[in-house]
């Protein structure tokens, strides 16, 4: 019905079939910067999310990666309707939820849940674990024995149900994140947005939580939008991965495709920057990007990555080509199941030379 043409060139994997669970179309979010003596005028905008389009299919995990400030968390909050988009459309389960009032949004709130980075900060320290996990039942007035359902949930996420009456501070970080997972799971949502769910955890615990999330996905046929800055974690858990830079979606492909054949120079730079650990010998050709990410208040013209792009300089013999500077490259298919927004995408296997410091 409202499923209009999706401009995204379809990137599929074995997990993507049928109608998407979530589609965002041209999603844009600007945070106004105001100034004025009495009446505040908007003088600028932080362009947090700029014209982002993608879909998430039932049962899959879409990874969303990028550096801090790239707009990945804002995108997640827009989909959860914790923020209102400046423009664009969000279709959930075939229905346009972009402009639903909070009352009409309520049934969808059950279907979209979030898991946050800091498990402690997101749990009310004055509520017992049972109350925290049971709260969604109370809010959405579900029938049945709440206590039993909470105990079942606790058991399922690997918490001892006898700890029903304990408080968050009595748990370790990993257990607290299990509480967060149980709370998100309580109402059997269709989509769970995981915003850096394992970043605050010790490495030995990270794996436990990641495995739990995978098991729950299989068991309850969950769909995940998984946000992380840890590229290893994202690769592990995602079916498809979207890369964001300065508010823009710059590349989207299946996980293996993206990691093995990155086509956008930014993705390539990002991957090469990751220490390779024991697998690789000493990496010598890390693409060390120059400088910092530009301000989202005043983003560069043309391709947002052009001021730092090694490929552009390579193509232009040290100068950044005109189109990179002036025209925003569209998200185009560079290969089946692989889209990137670049005028000069890398060829498969092409390795970027390390950029000398300017």
């Amino acid at each position: 019905m409202s499923q209009t043409q999706v401009p995204e060139p379809l990137v599929t994997s074995e997990a993507t079939h049928g109608e998407p669970l979530v589609s965002v179309e041209n999603l844009t979010k600007h945070f106004p910067v105001r100034r004025g003596i009495i009446f505040q005028r908007q003088v600028a905008a932080v362009q947090a999310v700029q014209d982002v389009t993608f879909s998430i299919y039932p049962g899959e995990t879409l990874g969303l990666v990028g550096e801090s400030g790239c707009g990945k968390s804002t995108t997640a909050r827009l989909i959860a309707r914790l923020l209102n988009p400046t423009s664009g459309r969000i279709v959930f389960d075939g229905q346009d939820i972009t402009k639903l009032s909070s009352r009409r949004m309520r049934p969808f709130r059950r279907d979209i849940q979030m898991i946050f980075q800091d498990p402690y900060a997101s749990l009310n320290p004055r509520q017992s674990v049972g109350q925290i996990i049971g709260a969604p039942f109370a809010i959405h007035h579900t029938e049945g024995d709440t206590r039993k359902r909470v105990r079942d949930l606790m058991d399922r996420v690997g918490l001892n149900p006898e700890h029903y009456n304990r408080y968050p501070h009595e748990f370790s970080g990993g257990q607290r994140q299990r509480i967060g997972v149980a709370r998100a799971l309580a109402l059997r949502p269709k989509l769970i947005i995981c915003d850096e769910p394992v970043s605050a955890l010790d490495v030995s615990i990270q794996a436990q939580i990641l495995n739990l999330l995978e098991d729950l996905q299989d068991e309850f046929n969950l769909t995940y939008l998984f946000i992380s800055h840890d590229l290893g974690v994202v690769r592990h858990i995602s079916d498809r991965i979207a890369v964001m830079y300065l508010g823009h979606l710059v590349e989207l492909a299946t996980a293996d495709e993206l990691y093995e054949r990155p086509r956008h120079p930014y993705t390539a730079a990002l991957l090469s920057a990751v220490p390779k650990g024991r697998a690789g010998a000493r990496v010598t050709n890390r693409i060390v990007l120059q400088g910092d990410v530009p301000s989202p208040v005043n983003p560069p013209s043309g391709c947002p990555f052009h001021p730092r792009c090694p490929k552009a300089r390579l193509v232009g013999n040290g100068e950044v080509p005109e189109n990179c500077r002036n025209e925003l490259p569209p998200l185009g298919e560079v290969e089946t199941n692989h889209v990137a927004a670049c005028w000069y995408p890398l060829e498969p296997g092409e390795e970027l030379e390390r950029m000398a410091h300017a």
Partner: protein, 339 residues
């Protein structure tokens, strides 16, 4: 032969708390040599930070410290506080995890570096300022003359960490201790910082200690690696020894539980359970309750870090053949998995 800068022998650090005595560091020994990077890996509570805060003399007064910390021939634990202070920041510099909070928000970056210089060198402000600017240039800060006059909040995260490094390195210390220097940074910035540290290390020919939970980072830049668990070293060897033929099941667990960008495994193998309490650590090997290979002696005597037939010291009772076999099996399992 490399010159030994720092030798720590049987260091113990204990804190009295209302709940009991916290044995934060429980007998750790290691050395750092000039021109070498020692990577120290472990999870929170493993004692890695406390060890080096103790080396720096930055541990609060209520701690009980024993052992020896020999820096350039002098035992820091026996020196009067004033002399330790004179070494701190001059002979040894330290960089901390969070560059957002580690710089004083109300003083100019340049002034903070100047302060570090003038705490140890009797030179005038102008000269110190020039030194600070020069150092900022060296750590890759663009337009250092102007940026030195900025406040920390006007810097990006990466720049702040560069400034911290400049502050730690400005007096050309023999030893740089970096405590999770890149954990709070984005991956591309992390790469820049690690690069910078490498570069400075070779330029100044100092020793570096890199404390991190990120095995990838350690593998990337360290010559020697110490894996810590519950206040002790689980194993201690060269980078290749620890990463290619790890001897301790905890190290195995760490290596296997971390998803990497290069390859995808079907299922991660986590270390079950949670890190132990430091007030009432498990008897014997502190790791044994979480260890899949535990056997008879593990909950008896505590295993010391020593050569146990392998090519580097470890603290596990398993026979060396078993260690080699078990590690080989694990490696095989990993290799088998479809990529």
């Amino acid at each position: 032969m490399a010159e030994t800068l720092l030798e720590v022998k049987d260091l113990k650090v204990q804190f009295d708390t209302p709940d009991g005595v916290v044995k934060a560091v429980d007998g750790v020994s290691f050395t750092v040599e000039r021109g070498q990077t020692l990577g120290v890996v472990g999870e929170s509570g493993s004692g890695k930070s406390v060890t080096f805060m103790t080396v720096m003399g930055l541990i609060a007064g209520n701690a009980r410290i024993s052992g020896e910390i020999i820096f350039e021939g002098r035992d820091l634990l026996k020196l009067p506080p004033a002399e330790v202070r004179a070494i701190r920041g001059d002979g040894m510099g330290m960089v901390f995890q969070d560059p957002m909070t580690s710089l004083h928000p109300m003083y100019r970056v340049g002034d903070q570096i100047v302060e570090a210089i003038r705490a140890h060198r009797d030179i005038d402000r102008k000269e110190a300022w020039d030194m600070a600017v020069e150092m900022l240039r060296k750590v890759g800060l663009p337009r250092p003359e102007e940026r030195a006059k900025d406040y920390p909040h006007e810097y990006s995260g990466g720049m702040r960490q560069r400034a911290m490094i400049a502050m730690a390195m400005v007096l050309n210390p023999d030893l740089l201790i970096a405590d999770e220097p890149t954990t709070a940074l984005d991956v591309t910035v992390q790469a820049q910082i690690l690069e910078l540290m490498e570069q400075l290390k070779s330029e100044y020919n100092c020793g570096v200690v890199l404390i991190t939970h990120d095995l990838g980072v350690v593998a990337d830049v360290s010559q020697k690696v110490m894996v810590m668990y519950a206040g002790r070293a689980a194993e201690y060897g060269t980078r290749d020894q620890v990463f290619n033929t790890p001897l301790h099941p905890y190290t195995w667990g760490l290596l296997e539980s971390i998803p990497t960008v290069e390859r995808r495994v079907e299922r991660l193998v986590p270390i079950e359970g949670t890190p132990p309490s430091l007030i009432n650590p498990p008897r014997g090997c502190a790791f044994h309750p979480r260890c899949p290979h535990r056997f008879e002696p593990c909950d008896g005597e505590r295993p010391e870090l020593e050569m146990r037939g392998g090519d580097h010291p470890d603290a596990c009772y398993l026979a060396i053949e078993d260690k080699r076999r078990l590690w080989a099996e694990r490696e095989q399992r990993r290799q088998k998995e479809p990529a």
